[in-house]
C-alpha cells in the first residue's frame, strides 16, 4: 500500500524533470499515444455510448498512462512513479462505502453501476462559486439545505472579510475559512438539518494553513464531512496540497480529490481527455490518498461541461470507472448559461444524465462557468437533483436519444451564452423561493422535459 510517507519518498527521490517537459513532452504526448494504441474514437452522434469495450479500452489506456508518466511534484520537480501492482493494491484497498453526515442525515455513499436504478449521491451547490457578501453565502446554503434530494452540501466561497478582498494564505483567508465553516453549519441548523455533511468543507480555504486553521473544533467541522483537495492539472501535486492531505488524514476524514482536465488544454481532444480523466482517478487514490473522487472535466473555450464532447467524456469516464473498479466517483458539471435561462437548466440536465446513467454520482452545479460573483441560485442544483433521480435506471441508449434532444436546444448558443440574472434578482430569501419570473421558466422547462420523457416533480 502506498501511504503518505511513500508519497513523500517518491516526491523526494523520483526522476527530476522540468514542469514544462513533464506536461508537454511526456504527459500530453503519452496521452495521445495511448488513444492511438487503443483505437479510441469519439463519435459525435453517440454522446452516451452503449459500447462496453470502449469503456474498457479507455480504462486500460488510463492505467498505462499513469504507469508510463506518473504524477509530478512541482515543489521537487520530480516524477512520482507508480507500478501497476501499486495501482492494483490501491484499488483493492479503496473503501467501497463511506458514511457521511450525522444523525438523521447520516447516509451511505457507495459506488454505482452503469444504468443503476439506485439514485445517485446528490452533492449540491455551487462549489466554490464566489459570493460578494456573507448574506449571499448564507442565503445560498440555506436554499441548498432545503432541497429534498440533497445528501451533502458544496458551499460557495466568501471573497471578502471586514470589507477587504481576501488574499491567499493571509489572515483574511484564515478568517474567511473559519466563517465559511460556521456560516455553512448555521445555515443547515436554521432549516432544521444540522447533520448534513459539508463535503467540500471550506472552499474559502485555498491554502493549507487556512484549512488547518478552520479545523479547530470551535468552528464545527466534523470527520463525517468530506474534504475536497484539488489536484493541479495534469496530475500534479505540491507540498501545499500534500499538507492538506496530511491534515485531513490526521482527523480520520475521507479525502476526495477533485480534478478538472480541460479539453483543449494539456489533455488534448475528447479521447485523450477521457483517458486523462480516468487516469486521474487512479492517481488520486495514490497521491492524494483519496477515498472518493470528483472529476470535473471542462471545455477550454466554454468552461462548461454541456457540449457534445464533454457529455461523451463524462459518460465514458463513468463507464470505464464503474466497469473496472469499485471507486466512488461524483461528476461535477458546469453550465455556460446563467440563472433564469432555460438553457442553463437544459445544460445541467444533459450533464447530470450523462453521469447518472454511466455509473456516477453527482456534484452539481457550477453556473455560468462559476466565475462571476453571485450568479447562481439554489434552483439550478435543485433541478439537477430532480433530473438525477428521474433518470436513474435509464438505459444508455435511451439517455443518448434524450441528451441529443437537449443538445439541440442549446448547442448553438454555447459560444455566446445568455448569463441570466444574479441571486437576489431572481431568488426571494424571505419566501425561500425563486422569483415569479424564474418560476415560470421552471414550469415551462418541466413541460419540455416531460415531452422528451422525463417526468419531474410538479412545480409549485
Amino acid at each position: 500500500m502506498v501511504h503518505i510517507l511513500d508519497v513523500m519518498e517518491k516526491a523526494l527521490e523520483g526522476k527530476p524533470i522540468s514542469e514544462n517537459d513533464y506536461q508537454l513532452k511526456l504527459f500530453a504526448a503519452k496521452a495521445n499515444e495511448k488513444v492511438r494504441e487503443h483505437g479510441i474514437k469519439f463519435d459525435r452522434n453517440e454522446v452516451i455510448p452503449s459500447d462496453n469495450s470502449l469503456a474498457d479500452d479507455i480504462y486500460r489506456a488510463a492505467v498505462e498512462l499513469l504507469v508510463e508518466v506518473g504524477a509530478y511534484c512541482t515543489d521537487t520537480s520530480r516524477i512520482l512513479s507508480y507500478s501497476e501492482e501499486e495501482i492494483r493494491g490501491a484499488l483493492r484497498n479503496a473503501p467501497q462505502e463511506i458514511w457521511l453526515g450525522e444523525g438523521k442525515e447520516r447516509k451511505r455513499l457507495a459506488p454505482r453501476k452503469i444504468e443503476d436504478k439506485s439514485p445517485p449521491w446528490c452533492f449540491l451547490g455551487a462549489g466554490g462559486g464566489a459570493c460578494s457578501s456573507d448574506r449571499s453565502f448564507t442565503t445560498l446554503v440555506e436554499g441548498y439545505a432545503e432541497i429534498p434530494e440533497i445528501n451533502a452540501i458544496t458551499t460557495p466561497a466568501l471573497t471578502r472579510v471586514g470589507g477587504m478582498r481576501i488574499r491567499p494564505a493571509s489572515p483574511l483567508e484564515l478568517l474567511g475559512a473559519m466563517r465559511n465553516a460556521v456560516y455553512a453549519r448555521e445555515a443547515c441548523n436554521r432549516v432544521g438539518r444540522p447533520g448534513l455533511p459539508l463535503m467540500n468543507s471550506l472552499s474559502t480555504a485555498e491554502s493549507d494553513i487556512a484549512l488547518a486553521a478552520a479545523l479547530h473544533p470551535r468552528y464545527g467541522m466534523r470527520a463525517s464531512d468530506g474534504f475536497l483537495i484539488c489536484c493541479m492539472d495534469p496530475m500534479k501535486v505540491d507540498f501545499n496540497r500534500l499538507n492538506k492531505v496530511t491534515v485531513v488524514l490526521s482527523m480520520g476524514a475521507p479525502i476526495g480529490m477533485c480534478f478538472g482536465p480541460l479539453m483543449g488544454g494539456y489533455s488534448g481532444g475528447p479521447e485523450s481527455t477521457a483517458v486523462s480523466n480516468v487516469a486521474h482517478h487512479l492517481m488520486g487514490v495514490l497521491t492524494y490518498q483519496s477515498s472518493w473522487l470528483l472529476p470535473f472535466p471542462l471545455h477550454l473555450r466554454y468552461v462548461s461541461s454541456s457540449s457534445r464532447e464533454m457529455l461523451w467524456i463524462i459518460s465514458v469516464t463513468g463507464q470505464a470507472i464503474s466497469r473496472n473498479t469499485d471507486l466512488i466517483s461524483l461528476n461535477l458539471n458546469y453550465t455556460s448559461a446563467g440563472p433564469t435561462t432555460p438553457m442553463c437548466l437544459f445544460e445541467t440536465s444533459a450533464s447530470v444524465t450523462a453521469a447518472v446513467v454511466s455509473g456516477l454520482s453527482i456534484e452539481s452545479v457550477g453556473v455560468a462557468s462559476n466565475k462571476e460573483e453571485d450568479r447562481t441560485t439554489p434552483v439550478e442544483p435543485r433541478i439537477s437533483a430532480e433530473v438525477a433521480h428521474a433518470v436513474a435506471g435509464m438505459k444508455r441508449s435511451d439517455a443518448n436519444g434524450m441528451v441529443n434532444e437537449l443538445l439541440s436546444k442549446y448547442e448553438s448558443k454555447l459560444a455566446n451564452p445568455p448569463l441570466g440574472k444574479t441571486l437576489f434578482e431572481c431568488w426571494d430569501p424571505e419566501r425561500r423561493r425563486p422569483s415569479p419570473e424564474y418560476q415560470k421558466v421552471i414550469r415551462k422547462f418541466k413541460k419540455d422535459m416531460a415531452k422528451i420523457g422525463v417526468d419531474l416533480r410538479p412545480e409549485l
Binding site: Y266, L300, E373
Partner: protein, 215 residues
C-alpha cells in the same frame, strides 16, 4: 537543398511543433544566406498563424500551440541577430506571469504563446510570481509591457500590488501594465489604474501591439 526547400522545412518544423527541426532548418537557411526577413515572413509568420487559427478552431490543442511557439522562439534566437537593427527593436519585450498566490496557468500560457508567435520577445515567469520579482524582471529585461493574469477573486488584489509597487518605485510610466483572467473586468482594470484589460488572447495581442511602439 534549394532556398525554397530551406524555407519549406522551416515552415514545416513549426507546423510539426518540432524545435530541433526548426533550429536545423534555420541553420541551413542561414548557411544559404537567405534573407532573414524572408525566413520570418515566408516561413515563421505564416506557419504560426496557421497554428494559431487551428487552435482557435480547436482543431489542435494547447500543447501543440505551446510547442509551436517554442519552435518559433528557438529559430528566432538564431535569425534575429542577423536582422536589421530597426527590426530587432520593433517588437517589444513582454513579461508574462500569473500573479502571486495563483497557480492557474492555462490562460497565461495561451497569451504567452500567442504573443511569442506574433514576434514579441516574451519572458514567461510562470505562476505564483512574487510582485517584486516581476517588476525586477521587467526592469532588467527593459520590458515595455507586463501581462498579469489572475484567475481568482482572492488574487486579483495582486494585480493592484504590481501597479502600486511600480508606482512606488517611480517606474510606473516605463511599462504598460495589462491585466486579465476570469474574475477581472474592464471596471476592475480602471479601478486599479491598469493600462488595459483583455477578455482573451486576441485582446492581449491588440493591447500589446498598441503599447509596443509607444514607450
Amino acid at each position: 537543398m534549394g532556398k525554397d526547400d530551406a524555407i519549406t522545412e522551416l515552415r514545416s518544423a513549426v507546423l510539426e511543433y518540432d524545435s530541433d527541426a526548426a533550429v536545423r532548418a534555420a541553420k541551413a537557411a542561414i548557411k544559404q544566406k537567405i534573407d532573414p526577413m524572408i525566413m520570418v515572413d515566408k516561413a515563421l509568420v505564416p506557419a504560426i498563424n496557421e497554428v494559431g487559427d487551428k487552435f482557435e478552431k480547436m482543431e489542435i490543442f494547447l500543447p501543440d500551440l505551446m510547442l509551436a511557439a517554442d519552435a518559433v522562439k528557438a529559430s528566432m534566437a538564431l535569425i534575429l541577430p542577423l536582422m536589421a537593427k530597426d527590426y530587432q527593436t520593433s517588437k517589444a519585450t513582454v513579461v508574462v506571469a500569473t500573479v502571486q498566490g495563483d497557480v492557474h496557468e492555462i490562460g497565461k500560457n495561451i497569451i504567452a504563446s500567442m504573443l511569442m508567435a506574433r514576434g514579441f520577445n516574451v519572458i514567461d515567469m510562470g505562476v505564483d510570481v512574487k510582485t517584486t520579482l516581476l517588476i525586477d524582471e521587467a526592469k532588467k529585461s527593459r520590458a515595455k509591457i507586463i501581462c498579469a493574469s489572475a484567475l481568482m477573486s482572492s488574487t486579483m488584489g495582486s494585480q493592484k500590488d504590481i501597479i502600486d509597487y511600480a508606482t512606488a518605485l517611480g517606474d510606473r510610466k516605463r511599462y504598460a501594465i495589462l491585466v486579465g483572467g476570469g474574475p477581472t473586468s474592464r471596471e476592475w482594470a480602471d479601478e486599479i489604474k491598469a493600462d488595459g484589460w483583455g477578455k482573451d488572447a486576441n485582446g492581449a495581442i491588440k493591447l500589446a501591439d498598441k503599447f509596443s511602439g509607444r514607450r
